[in-house]
């Protein structure tokens, strides 16, 4: 049952059209910084492009996918019409308006502060208002997911919340609290400076607030992907979900451990002391637990599929897997990228090892592999799964989907692996240009060319995605088969009450955040000398 078809389609379409624009910008950036191109006359164009690419990829795409997918899950998993459809449309239009406002400001060159904002550099207030509208629009979604879950619970007292909805609402609560950090940074520190009410800003404090959002947002991004892993992958490849409980444990652990870890982004910063840096490093180690649990559970679920198809022995089940199935390919590629990216992540979070790679091209490689690689690939699969329901298109062209998935995987590996390598050699990130005539940099030039080529494959893959989705609207309408989520391998087990609600986990989330951020924030806010003059960006 999917009634809010237009609502879900609107979210996905705006997300993917913005994504298409941003990926073209990304490829342009790789091309102009490579030795293949004469450098653009105005390096500001490069940073303008980075700001747009990052803002769309980090805020617009994942937020809209999480919202659209969330509305679909609410109806499909709870089997009742979505409450508050009008509010949902309001949230959608706020996100669209905010995106447009930020986009125009960026295009005019009045917001080249990159998507991480970088005070004391200050952009036009319209850019920040745009970002705030995107976030406020998404808060409408958070509220609606909570309202819909509670309405269902009232109708079904004592029942176990379906796993897909459980993860979906966990993602919504995670986002609500995650976004508070950047919201405080923008509203309390940046906007007053941007509007000209103050002419100084505490740049160190702003970075600490941003770090609150900066790492937890990654777990908000990955929630939709994990929901696909647990509740769609096993069904799509003909297997069973190994453990429903493990899915719930993973989702609530993300709630608890996502937030109090952001200071690991500030290891090399002077405004936070060693003690809190260590605490955040240890917490970051803990947040790898839900992913390690997920890897086990999903691989076990895939193994069930292989054995149901007649695979035997220690490795025989791997050969028996449905390798011609796009979802099988996608989950395999996603896990390979998650493996490399996760190993890199453990290096980044390590209190000491981070010094080698901090702010080098390694970091760019790391998060492209994890987010654009492992997670966004599963966004595509979510769209492919929903599309026949949304458009009545009948089955989508499987071989074209496979080609798209292959290109995304190969492109992402070619893009991000050279970045890891040159990051270790000390190549800085966020550079509009490298001087390839310098004897120390010349040997690294090939890596930038390789990444440009990888990026080209990604652009082709993105266009195939949009082509497949657009063409589905034009096929003759057929009634879609009922949508199902994965079955459990051992159904009927009792779900502990603690894993059927969020109270304890939300309390831990908020408590740990306050413990891990309270002191650094209070200390920094009280430092007078930390306020420094603002630097307006773009002529005003």
């Amino acid at each position: 049952m999917l009634l809010a078809k237009k609502l879900v389609l609107a979210h996905f379409w705006v997300a993917f059209v913005a994504f298409l624009g941003a990926i073209v910008l990304g490829e342009w950036q790789m091309f102009v910084r490579s030795p293949l191109a004469q450098w653009v006359n105005n390096p500001e164009h490069y940073y303008r492009s980075v700001t747009a690419h990052g803002t769309v990829m980090a805020y617009v795409l994942p937020t809209l996918v999480a919202m659209g997918f969330g509305y679909a899950i609410s109806e499909l998993a709870l089997k009742r019409p979505l409450l508050g459809v009008k509010w949902a449309w309001l949230g959608f239009w706020l996100v669209v308006l905010g995106t447009a406002m930020a986009a125009v400001t960026m295009a005019m060159g009045k917001a080249s502060v990159l998507y991480t904002f970088y005070p004391p550099m200050i952009a036009s207030p319209f850019y920040y208002f745009g970002v705030v509208l995107v976030v406020v629009g998404s808060w409408v979604w958070v509220a609606l997911m909570s309202v819909n879950l509670h309405a269902w619970k009232k109708e079904n007292p004592g029942q176990t919340v379906p796993l897909a909805m459980f993860g979906n609402v966990a993602g919504a609560y995670l986002w609500a609290w995650t976004s508070v950090g950047a919201a405080v940074e923008v509203i309390v520190l940046i906007l007053p400076a941007s509007l000209g009410w103050t002419d100084t800003i505490n740049a160190g404090l702003a970075r600490v607030f941003f770090s609150w959002t900066l790492h937890a947002i990654v777990y908000f991004w990955l929630m939709p992907a994990y929901i696909v892993f647990y509740t769609i992958v096993p069904r799509a490849i003909g297997g069973r979900l190994y453990s429903d409980t493990m899915g719930r444990v993973a989702f609530v652990l993300f709630l608890v451990f996502s937030m109090p870890i952001g200071i690991h982004h500030l290891f090399a910063d002077p405004q936070v002391g060693a003690g809190f840096k260590f605490v955040h490093a240890a917490m970051t180690a803990m947040v790898s637990v839900p992913t390690l649990l997920t890897v086990f559970t999903i691989v076990a679920s895939v193994e069930i599929a292989g054995r149901l198809r007649g695979g035997t022995g220690l490795f025989g089940w791997i050969r028996a897997l449905p390798w011609g199935n796009p979802m099988m390919l996608a989950v395999t590629f996603s896990f390979i990228m998650l493996g490399f990216g996760g190993a890199g992540g453990i290096i980044n979070m390590s209190y000491q090892l981070n010094e080698t790679v901090h702010n080098t091209q390694w970091v760019t490689g790391h998060f492209h592999l994890i987010f654009a690689g492992a997670i966004v690939l599963m966004y595509f699969m979510a769209a492919y799964e929903l599309w026949p329901q949304l458009t009545g298109s009948g089955p989508l062209p499987q071989s074209l989907i496979k080609l798209q998935v292959w290109l995304w995987f190969i492109g992402m590996m070619i893009l991000s692996m050279p970045w890891h390598l040159v990051g270790l050699l000390g190549m800085p990130r966020r550079m509009a240009y490298y001087d390839y005539t310098h004897p120390d940099i010349q040997p690294q030039a090939w890596t930038v060319i390789a990444s440009t080529f990888g990026g080209l494959l990604l652009v082709i893959s993105a266009f195939i995605l949009v082509f497949i989705l657009a063409r589905a609207h034009r096929t003759p309408k057929t009634a879609p088969p009922p949508f199902t989520f994965s079955l459990e391998a051992h159904p009927g087990g009792r779900t502990p009450a603690l894993l059927n609600g969020y109270a304890l986990w939300l309390a831990m989330m908020i408590g740990l955040t306050l413990v891990n951020y309270g002191f650094p924030i209070a200390q920094l806010a009280s430092l007078k000398e930390a306020s420094v003059p603002v630097i307006p960006i773009g002529s005003r």
Partner: protein, 190 residues
């Protein structure tokens, strides 16, 4: 359904739970080992990220105190400690070329006058952020002699990509011979 659960099914569920539990233990052990490694290397090698919260007034930075122009560069203290002081601003480091010894601990003290900057020295672990209003301090030892690049690694405005400095790592004897005079060392071509 529960009444009809075949014994084989119940058995496989027990196996599944046991396997799952073993994996949880393995994961717990991995995490514990990682944290232990951080503690041991932190305490035993004193290997830590910059650890002090120290402020400085950007408005008077050039006029008085540690970061006035004639105090920037490398000095050999009377206690034999090597200190490098530097400033980052759009779009250059001061000094643009830094001389340090190999195989001796070198303490960097740096800050920024305007935007956020940062640097990494070649393939070494010398890597820090320079935030206006704060002094970044860290100590490192260079293993190899020779010249290394030192780019600004944090976006600081439209001229960011042109902001590079150099670090010359000298053999300790040569460095000490040059530094004994008590003067500040730098390798900026004059």
């Amino acid at each position: 359904m529960t009444a009809a659960t075949p014994p084989a099914h119940a058995h496989s569920e027990a196996v599944a739970i046991a396997a799952e539990r073993r994996w949880v233990y393995v994961v717990g052990a991995i995490i514990a080992l990682l944290i232990l490694m951080m503690v041991v290397t932190g305490l035993h090698w004193a290997s830590m990220p910059p650890s002090r919260v120290e402020t400085v007034d950007v408005k008077t930075l050039h006029l008085k105190g540690e970061f006035v122009e004639n105090n920037l560069g490398t000095t050999l203290g009377t206690d034999g400690k090597v200190t490098v002081r530097l400033i980052a601003q759009q779009y250059a480091f001061m000094p643009q070329c830094i001389v340090v010894p190999a195989e001796m601990p070198v303490t960097f003290r740096g800050t920024a006058t305007d935007a956020i900057h940062g640097f990494v020295v070649g393939t070494t672990n010398a890597n820090t952020m320079l935030i206006p209003g704060f002094v970044a301090t860290f100590t490192t030892t260079f293993k190899k002699t020779g010249e290394q690049l030192m780019p600004c690694h944090e976006y600081c405005g439209t001229g960011h990509e042109a902001m590079w400095a150099k670090v010359q790592v000298l053999p300790p004897q040569e460095f000490l011979a040059r530094a004994r005079s008590g003067e500040r060392l730098s390798c900026v071509a004059s």
